[in-house]
């Protein structure tokens, strides 16, 4: 029980960062139809944005907010300048969009990753200016700091906000329409390009903030902080069910907790193997994920 609770608490805080990231990834996948392999490196970039602002003297949570906005902007630019043109061209030639874009996103991932290394060094370790956080909760191995509590609250609030935005507002419905069938949405008068910009902005902001929370969870920041988590983020999004914020949260939670438990009970070396195995099995045998009923048609159409 002790191991289980320790594993659970360790997994819980990491899960908050993962959940945010998975929601962002899932949104890009659902609406932009992009399998963004650069997502991990972009999380790192978010972490460094916050680091720069934080080092200049601003408070931690303000730095996090600025990093989120910064990444949102980067994401919009990237979507417009790179991914969108490739998507449109693939469609015009009747080629599979996903095949065209996944290689591009790899190229972008390499560029972002190594730009970070060029600026901040490959293995130099950084940290935020932040005091030691007091323990908020401790019972039988289960430990949670106030910072952890804050991370959980921020994550839950943002995911709930996004979920209700997508579900209850006119704009959110237009987003879902675009995700379902872009051509149909466009001909029904949905301003598809603006919708895409907004979804890039939101997903980018989630990505940046996730990077910051990740640094808070781990304690340090280096050029691989985000990339190391890329497959876990993807696992969260896909196991949960792509295109669904709720699914992404559930998936990320499941993946984080499962990998902590695997680390605790089996071997720390195999921490990620169980999570990755879960991802592969989902990809192969239940591509729509746990919750992804809306995304099912999209995913199954090869």
């Amino acid at each position: 029980m002790f191991i289980f609770l320790t594993a659970l608490s360790a997994g819980l805080v990491g899960a908050a960062a993962m959940a945010l990231a998975s929601v962002g990834f899932s949104m890009q996948f659902g609406i932009g139809n992009l399998f963004n392999l650069a997502f991990g490196a972009l999380m790192t970039l978010g972490g460094f944005f916050a680091y720069v602002v934080n080092a200049a003297g601003l408070g931690l949570w303000l730095s996090a907010a600025i990093a989120a906005v910064g990444l949102g902007v980067v994401s919009v630019l990237m979507g417009r300048a790179i991914y969108r043109p490739f998507t449109l061209r693939a469609r015009r030639f009747g080629k599979g969009v996903e095949a065209a874009v996944i290689m591009v996103s790899f190229g972008v991932a390499v560029m972002v990753q190594y730009s970070i290394q060029a600026i901040w060094g490959a293995s130099t370790v950084y940290g935020y200016r932040v005091g030691v956080s007091a323990v908020a909760l401790s019972a039988n191995g289960f430990v949670l700091t106030w910072q952890g509590v804050a991370s959980l609250i921020v994550t839950a609030a943002l995911c709930a906000l996004l979920g209700s935005f997508m579900r209850f507002t006119q704009f959110g419905r237009a987003m879902r329409a675009t995700a379902g069938n872009e051509a149909l949405a466009r001909s029904s008068g949905v301003p598809v390009d603006r919708i895409l910009d907004v979804s890039w902005l939101i997903s980018g902001a989630f990505c940046g903030l996730a990077g910051v929370l990740l640094v808070l969870d781990i304690g340090t920041l280096d050029s691989f902080t985000g990339s190391d988590q890329l497959l876990l983020v993807i696992a969260g999004a896909i196991v949960g069910g792509v295109g669904s914020p709720l699914g992404a949260v559930l998936g990320a939670g499941l993946v984080s907790v499962v990998s902590e438990i695997a680390a605790g009970y089996i071997s720390p070396d195999l921490k990620y193997v169980v999570a990755f195995a879960l991802l592969v099995l989902t990809l192969l045998f239940r591509p729509s994920g746990l919750v992804g009923s809306t995304a099912r048609a999209k995913v199954l159409a090869k």
């Binding site: 190229g107 390499v110 060029a118 990620y272 193997v273």
Partner: protein, 626 residues
């Protein structure tokens, strides 16, 4: 300096072999093998285990042996092939391409973690070290470092690898692979076993991967999980994209430019004081940038996939002989085939014209007897039910297509025609009911098997295969091509030359019949909609089928072309073929069909002779609602 140059040469050779392997899977077969590096790793570990002998104290790996060169290298190729298949099974699941890619990538990552984490298996993160050079007397320099002899050892492997990729690529098997790459449905409908082609590509690609890993590790002497992180696959993919996907020379050029030139080029960059990571980082940024730029500006790579040209002159020669023939007597003319022209560089096929080969055409004659025959119907559908979720698309549909008839399936949109086509062609499995061809129950038979059983079909939309020329698009129609196997391809041209010549000859005849003889070397995107239909009709007939299923062949075709197509359908009947025509327009049907099957709301409303059905109440009810 000498050792540096040697290293460069050996790396180049192993990278070229690896790129060829990946090109077989990714370029030729269209599989997103993002986990390709596993094959290379498997080959490397194999050579390590088979040369090191049993583990010394302090080392923990399983099964060490001391085998003499070249046994470990050969084993590395075999193991690579097996891993290619085992780790590529993800490719056989029908999921989105990016899911496929990711699944394979993650499998490679898991493999790396497992090797890294499990003790007593492959010595974890330390890996195998101290792997000796093979035949040290020959490959070792006096100083003990590797000598140029090792490069010599690599040459035969390079030659064998070249033979594998080159002979697969130019053979009918290569054409079948490219068909499956661009249009799986057409590949299945023309009798290609797509799963078998993919497994073949995975295996032979894996063999090359394993071989390259084996050669590499015997040279560098050590192999650990850090040597084969999944990002290495991307370096090879970038190499393919830069050099040119789908062709042997492009892959080789890519291997020269990307892994070798990029890695080595940076050695000449001056070190930037204070930022040791800047140099290598810039190199990688350049790799990423080059990938993106190539994908945008030159997606075909520096060297484009070669388009095989066929000698039009030779085809015309056959065509003239064909003028007097309306499908009866055997053909007795040959044409220059792909490689006669492509490999000898002839611009006219006449010099390469082959002696007469009549076999293919005589097969056709056997089917051209009169319409009324006592045998079982060509196609019989009995009580077929198909459900999609809660919707019943076909509800106990039965119909009979007599041998030698032109039978039309008509019905308004949503009647279930397309689903029925799928059931007959084998791409849609019915929930219950039976489909028979000439009395044989084919219900459980897959599309490609039905094609080999004598069913040819056209497609309502997207029946063309991009990346193949018009002539090749017709040639793939032979569902029983005896020279299409991969082993035949590897055995060399003599093993598939004769069947290929027969198919070339038949394709030339059919291309001539539909009047596309001056478009043979065009790509399909240069054809009009009507011409594509004609191309498909020609494709249907290359394989001398017994039943031809035409799915709305007149849809979206201009009226003059439609008349031409109707004329072709009539000629099919004259040739004694059974034709099943799926059509929405009644006027078309009235002109050509002997029999009509009327489908509405997933049910057979009536079937009978054309006149009978066209005058029936039921038809007016279905079409006009009165």
């Amino acid at each position: 300096m000498s050792i540096y140059l040697l290293t460069l040469v050996v790396y180049l050779m192993t990278d070229v072999i690896a790129c060829w392997g990946l090109n077989l899977q990714f370029g030729e077969a269209g599989l997103y093998s993002f986990g390709f590096i596993v094959c290379q790793a498997a080959g490397a570990y194999t050579v390590g285990l088979l040369t090191l002998g049993s583990a010394a104290p302090g080392q923990t790996y399983f099964f060490g042996a001391h085998l003499a060169f070249p046994v470990p290298i050969i084993c590395s190729a075999a193991v690579g092939g097996v891993f290619g298949v085992v780790f590529g099974v993800a490719a056989l699941r029908r999921i989105r391409l990016d899911y496929q890619a990711l699944a394979m990538l993650v499998i490679a990552v898991i493999a790396n973690y497992v090797v890294n984490g499990v003790t007593g298996f492959l010595d974890g993160p330390i890996g195998l070290v101290g792997i000796p050079l093979p035949v040290p007397g020959f490959t070792q320099a006096p100083s003990g470092a590797p000598g140029w002899g090792y490069a010599v050892v690599c040459v035969p492997a390079l030659i064998v690898s070249f033979w594998i990729v080159w002979s697969l690529s130019r053979s009918p098997a290569g054409r079948a692979m490219r068909t499956a790459r661009s249009n799986e449905a057409v590949a299945r409908a023309t009798g290609k076993s797509v799963a078998k082609l993919w497994l073949g590509a995975l295996f032979w690609g894996g063999v090359l991967g394993g071989l390259s890993g084996g050669l590499l590790v015997a040279f560098i002497g050590a192999w650990a999980p850090a040597s084969w992180e999944f990002t290495e696959t991307f370096v090879l993919l970038t190499a393919l994209i830069v050099g040119g996907v789908g062709n042997v020379w492009g892959a080789a050029l890519g291997a020269l430019l990307v892994p070798v030139a990029f890695a080595e080029g940076s050695r000449y960059l001056p070190a930037i004081p204070g930022s040791p990571d800047l140099g290598p980082s810039l190199e990688w940024i350049a790799v990423g940038l080059v990938t993106v730029l190539f994908l945008w500006f030159r997606p075909a790579g520096l060297i484009r996939e070669r388009r095989r040209k066929y000698a039009v002159a030779a085809i015309e020669e056959v065509g003239e002989a064909d003028q007097s023939d309306t499908g009866g007597p055997p053909m007795s003319a040959g044409v220059a085939s792909a490689d006669d022209v492509a490999s000898t560089g002839l611009t006219s096929g006449s010099a390469a014209t082959q002696p007469a080969r009549a076999t293919a055409a005589t097969r056709e004659v056997t089917t051209s007897s009169p319409v009324t025959r006592g045998g079982p119907p060509a196609i019989e559908v009995e009580d077929v039910v198909v459900r999609f979720g809660g919707v019943t698309a076909l509800d106990r549909v039965s119909l009979v297509v007599p041998e030698g008839s032109v039978t039309a399936i008509v019905g308004p949109n949503g009647a279930g025609k397309s689903t029925l086509v799928g059931v007959i062609a084998g791409s849609q499995r019915p929930a219950s009911g039976h489909v028979r061809m000439f009395g044989d129950d084919v219900t459980a038979m897959k599309s490609h098997a039905r094609a080999r059983h004598g069913l040819a079909r056209s497609f309502q939309i997207s029946g063309e295969v991009d990346g193949l020329t018009v002539f090749e698009n017709v040639m793939i129609g032979e569902a029983r091509h005896e020279g299409e196997g991969m082993l035949r391809a590897l055995a060399g041209r003599w093993a598939w030359r004769d069947p290929e010549l027969r198919v070339t000859g038949r394709a030339a005849i059919e291309v001539r019949r539909v009047g596309l003889e001056d478009r043979v070397n065009a790509v399909t995107s240069e054809l009009s909609g009507g011409q594509r239909r004609l191309m498909e009709i020609a494709r249907c007939l290359v394989g001398t089928p017994r039943v031809v299923l035409l799915d709305e062949p007149m849809a979206g075709v201009n009226p003059r072309m439609a008349d031409a197509i109707i004329e072709h359908i009539r000629r099919l009947k004259d040739r004694g073929l059974t034709v099943l025509l799926v059509e929405h327009e009644l006027e078309v049907v009235e002109d050509v069909a002997d029999r009509i099957v009327l489908l509405s709301d997933g049910r057979t409303v009536m079937q009978g002779d054309t006149g009978e059905v066209l005058n029936a109440e039921a038809l007016r009810e279905v079409y006009l609602g009165v």
